[in-house]
């Protein structure tokens, strides 16, 4: 590294000190730290400190999980987007109540399950009828296979929608959101043992409903 002492002109009196210019590590007053490197808890603190853009990162990180959870309850893209927005709005309003005891994602799932259950309770009509025309996924293999797969998907969707509330929430979080039993217990405010029992009964009831539907029973 070249220093002022090294570049001292010949003939001059060379000082016995060396001047080095190094970048300061101290934060400049009024300059805010970047948010991208912060974890969820720090983002929450930054948001509560008045930096609303920190919540944008929270949304960016968790919107997929929240949207997919909502979609499992309403099965319509627009409705799922509406519910996801509602989940984040509720989270924002109650941000001070997030104590950090659980992960932010778990807390958002908890809000999400409540929002979805309220939505489903408000409109008791089943979201998906067994006779509803299934959406055929774009691309993939031949149309007949795609149609058969879409039909199976629709039947499963309808059967899941007919499960008791707790079993449905447990199944969605375990099978589709891939949460651990402990995480589900935290989301639903119950014990791990109760979650496992609910998984057991939800899967059993799902099989039973699908079997009844295949046999032509209502």
């Amino acid at each position: 590294m070249s220093t002022r002492a090294d570049a001292w002109p010949a003939g001059g009196t060379r000082p016995d000190w060396t001047l080095r210019v190094v970048p300061s590590n101290r934060d400049e007053p009024g300059r805010e730290s970047p948010l991208a490197g912060l974890d969820d808890r720090q983002l929450v603190d930054a948001c509560l400190g008045g930096r609303i853009e920190a919540f944008d990162l929270v949304v960016e990180r968790h919107q997929r999980a929240v949207y997919q959870l909502c979609f499992r309850y309403v099965h319509r893209h627009e409705d799922a987007a509406d519910l996801a927005q509602e989940v984040f709005l509720r989270a924002y309003r109650g941000l001070r109540r997030f104590r950090g005891d659980s992960a932010l994602g778990t807390w958002l799932y908890r809000i999400g399950v409540n929002v979805c259950l309220n939505h489903v309770s408000a409109r008791r009509a089943p979201e998906t009828s067994l006779d509803e025309a299934p959406q055929i996924p774009a691309g993939g293999d031949d149309p007949a296979s795609s149609l058969a797969r879409a039909e199976r998907g629709a039947r499963v969707r309808a059967a899941v929608a007919r499960l008791p509330r707790k079993q449905r929430a447990t199944l969605v979080l375990r099978i589709y959101q891939d949460l651990s039993h402990a995480e589900i217990a935290s989301v639903l405010g119950t014990t791990v043992g109760a979650v496992k029992a609910n998984v057991f009964h939800a899967l059993g009831n799902l099989k039973k409903l699908l079997a009844e539907e295949a046999a032509g029973k209502p």
Partner: protein, 206 residues
Amino acid sequence: MTHLSPAQAVDVAAGSAAPALIAHAASCEPCRAKVESLLEAVRLAAEDPPPDPSPLFWPHLAARIGEAVRREQAPAPSWRPWLWRLVPAGSLAALVLAAGVGFRLWSGTPGTLPGTMDAPALAPVEAPAGPMAAGDASDDPSWMLVSDLSSQVSLDDAEESGALPLPGGVEDALVQLDEIERMELARLLRAEMAALAPAAPQGPGA
């Protein structure tokens, strides 16, 4: 060994059970059927694929949520920390209130310290009687008015109204008099003293 409970069957199906449970499920037909039924249900559930929106959807959703959030007010300040901050002050206030009430109940006389009595009202200040020397303030109507009014005021009323001088107030007033005022004050005092003093004995040669 007893058959697997529902929770144990779920653990075996998830592959997170203890080796002894896994071994039992492998050797016990009813338990194996229970676990296989669970695994089949999981496969059926997985036939409903996850939603697969366009990649453009995520920035759109994030922007939409961001706009909605910005229409909201800032997160409401929590009242709980403030409440906790008020607890010491509230406790102190309650303590002082309790002490005051207890003190009054113990003394039995509201607003009176125990061991004290109401002071009797002082008698009204009597205006000085007797003839004033000629040329003194008794001829001044203003002085007469002040003298008349002051004779009807008790010392308690005067003290309550703040009319009485504070300690050292007279000295301060004297210091602030100019030369003429001091000479006039001295003349008035001499006249008052001469009027109150008994007649001086006359000398033989006077």
